[in-house]
């Protein structure tokens, strides 16, 4: 099922919001005195494509590279930025910082920066959904690096044996911190690893937002129809370094160039321009809205207070 043109423009706007957010953070980081983050730049289509295909009662687990998932889900960029800065107005009262932002009110839960943490907990979230007969599926975003952790094997195996309503989304961005994915596995694709668990799986072009959205809808339908989990691999590329302190000196231009051609936002804009959906005026509108939103967010985050010192000792026990 293809999205309508209007919907496609909305997807583009979300991707542009994520990109603008990341570019703003990068500029703050370049000027110093801004906390480090792991940028999902280049992976916007994966985040927006998947999340746009979800319902409100679906739950999301994510990881250290979460900004796209959060913003795609409708998180307030001001509160995300505030959290990154360790401010009291952040989604986690400033206690997370950038690496493990959860926003329970949005259904984005239990974010861990331990690579594989999301794979470890998603089975329990889905088990509760199933046993409490709650609607929806549980989406677990993780990286190609996380797929090398033992917990990947245990998680997918259990999800399959217990028939849990989980959509595993492996964002294969070709890098695992400072190691190339190719150095870490003997095969090219992670989706077929699902076969070991009799789990339906597919690799999709992760830089094509409509393709990702369609694949996600297909996967969610499969989960709902069969009651069994699904492994979706989005094939994409991390355009920035592992984290903002990574100068990328070890990554050649010849490696990056083809991927920059495949930039998800540029491609989407081209397509929508080509088919007449995206006019220059509409694009300008979007750019203005996005810029305003980011400016407002940044102002909010910067103006927000740090947590009071007494917060050091709270939220340890329930």
């Amino acid at each position: 099922m293809k999205s309508s043109a209007a919907e496609a423009v909305q997807l583009l706007e979300k991707m542009m919001l994520i990109r603008a957010y990341e570019e703003h953070l990068a500029s703050l980081q370049a000027s110093g005195h801004f906390p480090m983050t792991c940028s999902p730049q280049g992976q916007e289509a994966s985040a927006v494509g998947v999340v746009s295909a979800l319902d409100a009662d679906d739950t999301i687990l994510t990881n250290h590279r979460s900004a796209g998932h959060l913003l795609a889900r409708g998180a307030d960029p001001g509160r995300v930025m505030a959290e990154v800065m360790g401010k009291a107005t952040g989604y986690c009262k400033g206690k997370s910082g950038s690496l493990h932002i959860s926003a329970k009110e949005l259904g984005v839960v239990l974010t861990s920066t331990i690579v594989g943490g999301e794979l470890s907990m998603v089975t329990g979230v889905a088990l509760a959904k199933k046993m409490l007969a709650e609607a929806g599926v549980v989406v677990c975003f993780f990286g190609d690096g996380a797929a090398c952790e033992g917990i990947f094997h245990e998680s997918l195996n259990l999800a399959s044996v217990w028939q849990l309503p989980i959509l595993y989304v492996c964002e294969n961005n070709q890098w695992q911190a400072f190691v190339r994915r190719k150095e870490t596995m003997a095969v090219e694709y992670i989706a077929p690893w699902g076969n070991s668990y009799a789990m339906a799986n597919q690799t999709v072009n992760g830089n094509d937002v409509l393709a990702v959205q369609a694949a996600t809808r297909h996967a969610v339908a499969h989960i709902k129809a069969t009651g069994t989990p699904y492994l979706l691999e989005t094939w994409t590329y991390r355009q920035r370094g592992h984290y903002s302190g990574d100068n990328m000196a070890h990554i050649s231009a010849s490696e990056q160039a083809p991927w920059l051609v495949l930039d998800p936002i540029a491609q989407c804009r081209q397509q929508l321009t080509a088919d007449g959906t995206l006019t220059p005026a509409l694009l300008a509108d979007i750019e203005t809205r996005v810029a305003a939103e980011i400016a407002r967010a940044s102002e909010f985050a910067h103006a927000s207070p740090y947590p009071a010192a007494a917060e050091l000792l709270t939220d340890v026990y329930a």
Binding site: L110, S120, V122, L127, M131, I151, L158
Partner: protein
């Protein structure tokens, strides 16, 4: 009151709590057989076998606890927890704090420990101190059937992750257990297992019995020993310990875990910090030596804290003549 073994008391606690609260459930390797009665009563949804995968067992419990269930997981033997440390320590222990209080983790991690069965260091390792050292967790270790039931029920009702370590050797010990379905032993409250005036012995789990035997022996010499069973390692009821030490002025902590950075070290440190001036002699620890738990029978017996060592430590503190004892165990 009914008489039953510690293992049966744990089973009864599970059963009562599963009856009381439909979100309580249990999973682990082989629980469908080891808890066959619960499987029959509550069905395969709530009593689940798992694959041999400790990390995902613990992780699943964490995710489920944050999402409306109250899971109890059976991890079999304490050393197997080494596969599950991320979920327990980094997730259950820290994600409430990291998330600014968005999540709670009402879950119970069960594991067996305690030397005496000859199964060696990869099945027996007293690692309660690891969890005491980790923020956001609670840790309990009962010494008898009544406490096992009461602590199990309290642990299930608690909204935080509780590690409950059961000494294998106590499993078949019988005891009087309350029939009141709301009988709980509050977490963080020690029990004065024997009142006395001259010296304070602090212990938990199996070595509480060692202390009681030592107290009996010392009683023959007119030394009146108070024995405190901590029951909870975290929160630690230092108040009860301090009260006793302020009375007796003498403290010996006894546990089967190794000495270095163990619970005994913590008790000594807190007593020092808060009741130094009331101490009349050097506080002491009797623990197993800092070696892996041996499996060979004779070595394993020598590994355990001995009544004779406890007696000797007390006699030394009180300036009594000390009967010579073997000194392999420190």
């Amino acid at each position: 009151m009914s008489e039953m073994t510690l293992n049966a008391a744990v089973g009864q606690a599970l059963r009562e709590e599963m009856q009381r609260d439909s979100t309580v459930m249990m999973f682990g390797e082989g629980v469908a057989l080891s808890r066959a009665d619960l499987l029959t009563e509550f069905g395969a949804d709530r009593i689940r076998n798992t694959p041999l995968s400790e990390a995902i067992i613990a992780g699943t419990a964490v995710g489920a606890a944050a999402s409306g269930l109250r899971p109890v997981i059976d991890m079999l033997y304490a050393p197997f927890l080494t596969y599950a440390m991320d979920a327990i320590v980094n997730s259950a222990g820290k994600l409430r704090y990291i998330s600014g209080g968005q999540f709670a983790f009402p879950l119970v991690v069960l594991a067996q420990t305690g030397a005496g069965w000859g199964v060696g260091a990869q099945h027996t390792h007293n690692i309660e101190a690891w969890f005491a050292h980790s923020p956001g967790l609670k840790v309990v270790m009962p010494s008898n059937a009544a406490d096992a039931k009461g602590l199990m029920k309290a642990a299930i009702r608690d909204n935080n992750p509780v590690i409950m370590l059961l000494d294998m050797s106590l499993g078949y010990n019988p005891g009087e257990v309350s029939d009141d379905p709301d009988y709980v032993v509050p977490l963080g409250r020690a029990h004065v297992a024997r009142a006395g005036r001259h010296v304070t012995l602090v212990s938990y789990a199996k070595t509480t019995l060692t202390c009681l035997q030592a107290a009996e022996a010392l009683g023959q010499e007119d030394i009146d020993v108070e024995v405190i069973d901590l029951r909870s390692i975290k929160p630690l009821d230092i108040g009860t310990v301090l009260q006793s030490v302020r009375k007796t002025g003498h403290l010996v902590v006894v546990h089967e875990a190794g000495p270095l950075c163990g619970v005994g070290a913590e008790v000594l440190a807190q007593v020092n910090e808060q009741a130094f001036s009331q101490l009349k002699s050097a506080p002491a620890r009797i623990t197993s030596p800092d070696v892996p738990t041996p499996s060979s029978y004779a070595l394993e017996q020598a590994f355990l804290p001995q009544v004779a060592h406890v007696v000797a430590a007390v006699q030394k503190q009180l300036g009594r003549q000390t009967v010579a004892t073997a000194s392999v165990a420190m």
